[in-house]
């Protein structure tokens, strides 16, 4: 499949995924930035941070349901990655490598964190009003939409926090971040079968916790 055709297919599926050519260009650009950062070029590392900060932050936010924790963990992950650049051999992509660092640190943090979870949720962006699926889902259930959107957000996050770290990670990466099973397998360091089974179990759990909102 050509790059353009592949992109069209992705767009039709509602997800704007990069083509192979774009990925190759991205890898080459990242490799140059990593080489420069290894020599202490902080401007190059700044560019790398800007490339991945939103995706890493979003993953860690969905893992912790806490903005402050996600902020600290994302910063620490980038600092740790900078200190470990010499150990990055390029066997996996920089994206996968830094994701692994961020995810491992977050799982360690969550294991040490008190069982009582303090939610510190971000506000919904304005685009939520433009998502017809979400609007129908919310308005079906809730006459007072503004008040209940917040309630729904809290219930959703509470249900996520009731999952184990490994199950929450798979749901976050697949159903929220839109990653493929293969990409998740590389990050979590397991095969796609394990990813699929964890995803299935996590969805079952979530469905049970959120049954009132899924009728």
């Amino acid at each position: 499949m050509s790059g353009a055709a592949q992109k069209e297919t992705s767009k039709a599926a509602g997800v704007d995924k990069p083509t192979e050519q774009e990925r190759a260009e991205e890898r080459a650009r990242t490799a140059k930035l990593v080489d420069r950062a290894r020599t202490g070029d902080l401007a190059a590392y700044d560019e790398l941070i800007r490339t991945y900060q939103e995706r890493i932050y979003a993953t860690l936010y969905n893992m912790t349901s806490n903005h402050e924790d996600a902020h600290d963990l994302t910063q620490e992950a980038f600092i740790k990655a900078y200190r470990s650049l010499d150990s990055f051999k390029g066997q996996s992509s920089f994206y996968t490598w830094i994701y692994r660092i961020a995810v491992n640190r977050t799982i360690n943090f969550l294991k040490k964190r008190n069982r009582r979870v303090n939610l510190s949720l971000n506000d919904m962006d304005a685009n939520v009003e433009n998502n017809p699926e979400l609007v129908s889902l919310i308005s079906d259930k809730t006459p007072r939409r503004d008040a209940n959107l917040t309630e729904l957000q809290e219930k959703l996050n509470e249900a996520m926090q009731r999952l184990s770290e490994s199950h929450r990670l798979v749901v976050t990466l697949h159903d929220i971040q839109g990653m493929s099973h293969e990409e998740i397998g590389k990050i979590v360091n397991c095969n796609t079968g394990t990813v699929r089974s964890r995803l299935f179990y996590a969805r079952q759990q979530l469905q049970a916790h959120l049954s009132d909102y899924l009728k």
Binding site: D123, L152, L156, V171, D175, L214
Partner: protein, 178 residues
């Protein structure tokens, strides 16, 4: 695809989870994020390198179970150290208490007195003018025995003083013209 039936089963859940994509940090949050990371890296580089034990500390597990284990290990080491330490020759019958002269009332010693007890007293050996040389033999016992027992000094700072009656016998010299 095998996943299609499963995906349909979870279709409503998937739509609900999409809500989380709209949870975003405040506007402008990511504009300053990288500069915060770079500032922290520069600050760490400017700081002097931590000593080896400070680098070791973050790696130590501080969970309650591990802290309890550290405590047990430390206590075991202390007990083992106490038992293996070379024990001094404990005086028989003293009960481990302070040694006092039998002729003196038991009073707490002040610090200078206590220190003086640790240091052997230097007493000049002189011939006693009132002593009848005919009554005294060539050898003379010096001082009160009880006093001597109390004043026998330890050999080391932490060694208990010996209470054995080690009366010193010294040779007394007499002037040649007597």
């Amino acid at each position: 695809m095998n996943d299609e039936p499963k995906d349909q089963e979870f279709e409503k859940l998937r739509r609900l989870l999409e809500l989380k994509r709209h949870e975003v940090p405040p506007p402008g949050y990511f504009e300053d994020f990288s500069s915060g990371v770079i500032a922290r890296i520069e600050a760490e580089d400017a700081r002097p390198a931590p000593s080896w034990w400070r680098r070791l500390l973050p790696g130590i597990d501080t969970s309650p179970v591990m802290l309890g284990a550290y405590g047990v290990i430390f206590a075991s080491l202390v007990i083992a150290g106490v038992q293996l330490a070379p024990s001094g020759s404990a005086p028989q019958g003293s009960g481990g208490g302070p040694l006092l002269s039998s002729s003196e009332p038991a009073q707490p010693a002040t610090a200078p007195e206590a220190a003086a007890d640790l240091v052997p007293e230097v007493r000049p050996v002189v011939a006693d003018a009132d002593v009848d040389p005919s009554a005294a033999g060539p050898l003379k016992t010096l001082g009160n025995e009880a006093d001597h027992v109390a004043r026998s000094a330890p050999t080391g700072l932490f060694d208990p003083p010996s209470i054995h009656n080690t009366s010193r016998v010294e040779r007394v010299s007499f002037p040649a013209n007597q």
